[in-house]
């Protein structure tokens, strides 16, 4: 066996990577190994397609009602519907021609000269279209002193969307973190990894990598949603939710790290993939609670207010309140500070649990034990 191709040893043995660099390496592996996995690509594609389909369908359903109404107008009264929207105006010579057009179904209605006070009349077959009647109706200008930015359906929909996006991303990425942690432990590669890099780098890299993935996925969702809304001409919704979405991204990023740390620390307590289900229960509940709270209490201001300051529910609660215009300017700032502080504290505890339990094989390690033990195991 030839040794000529063997790189000369000993001489240029490199320095061990710094904590930050090791973290980045771990994160890079987490990202590349997942981005290349078929299941990740397929599930992301399905998710994006579903969102796009939802937007397109809502556009089609939404547009059938206010679509342009064909209407015949006798030239002498054409001025009465000038500037009306939603009408497909066709000029006709006189009332007879207008009636003919209505009967044949070419138009839904006709505007013809009529009696006082309007001087016009509407002819329709069996039902006068709202669009035509509204175009001819004089309505007073309405000025709202305290406008509700969104009511009913939209309010519910946006709340639902914030909650759902947060929950699915965290549970998806959290399970991935948990599974990777246990796989590393089960396959014992963690012993090899830890002989190279500290446990903290391993944990941080895992959280960082999966956070980037989840944020990327969420950004893709947002991009597809914006694109879909613009293309289907529903972009007026965007101006309503722009600011809350910006806050949502910030809260999402921090809240995600908070929960990711909990998932990783929980998973490090067990040694077999089969055991992850039970040990992840608390983390999964913490993730689902904000979703259910916003769904059930999205019109209860007190619950939302409390939610928007509690770290685990703030990522959903605060953007929803901002969207509903219920929060003062300082409230998201305070909530964010609380969230960041809580996240730092949880990471410290999670790192401790992770360091203590990731090398312990066999049965489940109790949290109390992992925290209380001196550095001897």
């Amino acid at each position: 066996m030839s040794t000529t191709s063997h790189p000369a040893p000993t001489a240029h043995r490199p320095q061990a990577p710094s904590l930050g660099r090791a973290t980045l390496l771990v994160a890079e592996r987490e990202i590349t190994s997942q981005v290349r996995s078929k299941s990740f690509l397929i599930s992301t594609a399905v998710l994006l397609l579903a969102i796009l389909a939802g937007i397109v369908i809502s556009a089609i359903v939404g547009q059938r009602e206010p679509g342009e109404t064909p209407v015949a107008v006798v030239s002498s009264v054409a001025g009465s519907i000038d500037g009306a929207t939603g009408l497909d105006v066709r000029d006709v010579a006189d009332r007879a021609a207008a009636e003919e057009a209505v009967r044949s179904g070419d138009v839904d209605a006709a505007v013809v000269p009529g009696g006082e006070p309007l001087g016009v009349a509407v002819i329709a077959l069996d039902d006068a279209p709202d669009a035509v009647v509204q175009a001819l109706t004089v309505a007073p200008e309405v000025e709202l002193l305290d406008p509700a930015p969104a009511e009913g359906g939209l309010r519910y929909l946006i709340t639902f969307a914030f909650g759902l996006v947060f929950m699915t991303s965290v549970i998806g990425a959290g399970s991935m973190i948990a599974q990777n942690t246990v796989t590393e432990k089960q396959s014992r590669i963690v012993e090899i990894l830890l002989s190279a890099v500290p446990a903290r780098a391993l944990l941080a890299g895992k959280i960082l990598g999966n956070s980037v993935l989840a944020l990327g996925q969420t950004a893709a969702i947002a991009a597809v949603a914006v694109l879909g809304l613009v293309v289907t001409g529903q972009d007026d919704v965007l101006t309503l939710i722009g600011m809350p979405v910006a806050w949502f991204v910030v809260f999402f990023a921090v809240g995600f790290v908070l929960l990711a740390a909990i998932f990783a620390a929980s998973a490090s307590l067990v040694s077999r993939v089969e055991d992850t289900g039970t040990v992840l229960q608390p983390a999964i509940w913490l993730t689902m609670v904000p979703y259910f709270l916003v769904i059930f209490f999205n019109d209860n201001e007190l619950v939302l207010r409390i939610m928007s300051f509690v770290p685990f529910t703030a990522p959903v609660g605060m953007p929803v309140r901002l969207f509903l215009n219920e929060a003062a300017w300082w409230e998201p700032v305070v909530a964010l500070l609380v969230l960041v502080a809580a996240t730092l504290a949880v990471i410290a505890v999670a790192a401790r649990i992770y360091e203590r339990s990731v090398l312990r094989m066999g049965g489940r390690v109790a949290v109390r034990e992992a925290l209380a033990r001196s550095a001897d195991d």
């Binding site: 066996m1 790189p7 190994s33 396959s187 014992r188 012993e191 890099v197 195991d377």
Partner: protein
């Protein structure tokens, strides 16, 4: 030189390592031999810092080990572990990068080792698709890919066919020749006997013997000789100062001091042609058995095994 001094460790109230001291010299292949549960794995985990000792020190060239120093060790754990779904070459590259090699250098090292260990065709297969023997080679590669300063391998030869044993042995010997202390455990005594320069024998958490293979052989040599003649050796029973162990027609194994043995040879030559005459050197298995049974209450080893299993 890697040195352990007075290392002790207990799990609960059971002492699994008791005052363990030995050295692994630079450029030496040191075999670490003991029964199941004798404390080999625990010792190795302590060397790597995966487990902490309750007493004693591990030093390299007289300096205590810290994390940075240990990061330059190569370790093959008892339980084999690599990412099952990651491609072999990528995985080794990743491990080398974790040790500080840049991407290109890490890739070169990975492919080089893969070639050395005869896995070139498998470089782009996920590890879980490799046969057990090949996974084992991959594991050896994982321990070597960052050009470690010290090698600690837990049962590197188990599950390998003779060809693979030779390949791995070649790679380890090469590292040792570069001045790397290599410690490997094994319960395959024949393999250890063939490969290692030095030996450490552990039983029940205590070191029973340590030293170079030849020293140990000499120290445990009995004054046994084997003689094969064309005729019959029956007369040997009547020789003074001779204890006959085995006797079958022209072949005899006997114990006698050197002078007596020479006398027997002369006598045999006088009676006819002698086909062979040689002192019997104890095999490692014999030394091992002798060392262990001499001092070891039999059930101790079994107990520590249960303990390690339970962990």
């Amino acid at each position: 030189m890697l040195e352990l001094q007075g290392v002790s460790r207990s799990f609960g109230d059971r002492r699994v390592l008791d005052d363990v001291s030995f050295t692994v010299g630079r450029g030496r292949l040191t075999g670490f031999v003991g029964g199941n549960g004798a404390g080999k794995t625990t010792t190795m985990r302590i060397i790597l810092g995966v487990l902490s000792a309750h007493a004693g020190t591990v030093t390299i060239d007289g300096r205590p080990l810290d994390g940075a120093r240990r990061a330059r060790f190569g370790y093959m754990p008892e339980e084999r572990g690599l990412y099952p779904k990651m491609k072999l070459a990528e995985q080794l590259t990743y491990l080398a990068r974790l040790h500080g090699f840049d991407k290109a250098a890490a890739g070169d090292r990975a492919h080089d080792l893969i070639g050395r260990l005869g896995l070139a065709e498998r470089a782009d297969d996920p590890v879980e698709n490799l046969s057990l023997g090949n996974q084992q080679r991959a594991q050896v590669a994982a321990a070597l890919v960052h050009d470690p300063e010290v090698l600690v391998l837990d049962e590197p030869f188990s599950g390998l066919d003779p060809m693979a044993v030779e390949v791995v042995q070649g790679v380890l010997a090469e590292r040792a020749a570069q001045g790397v202390p290599v410690l490997f455990s094994s319960h395959q005594l024949d393999v250890v006997e063939r490969l290692c320069d030095d030996l450490v024998i552990i039983a029940g958490g205590r070191i029973r013997a340590a030293g170079s293979r030849d020293e140990l052989r000499r120290a445990h040599a009995t004054e046994r000789h084997e003689i094969v003649v064309a005729g019959d050796m029956g007369w040997l029973r009547d020789e003074p100062g001779v204890r006959v162990d085995e006797l079958a027609a022209g072949t005899a194994v006997f114990e006698a001091d050197a002078a007596t043995a020479q006398r027997v040879l002369t006598a045999a030559l006088a009676r006819g042609p002698v086909e062979s005459f040689a002192p019997l050197r104890p095999s490692l298995a014999e030394i091992f058995r002798e060392v262990i049974t001499d001092e070891e209450p039999a059930d101790d080893a079994g107990r520590t095994q249960e303990l390690e299993d339970a962990r």
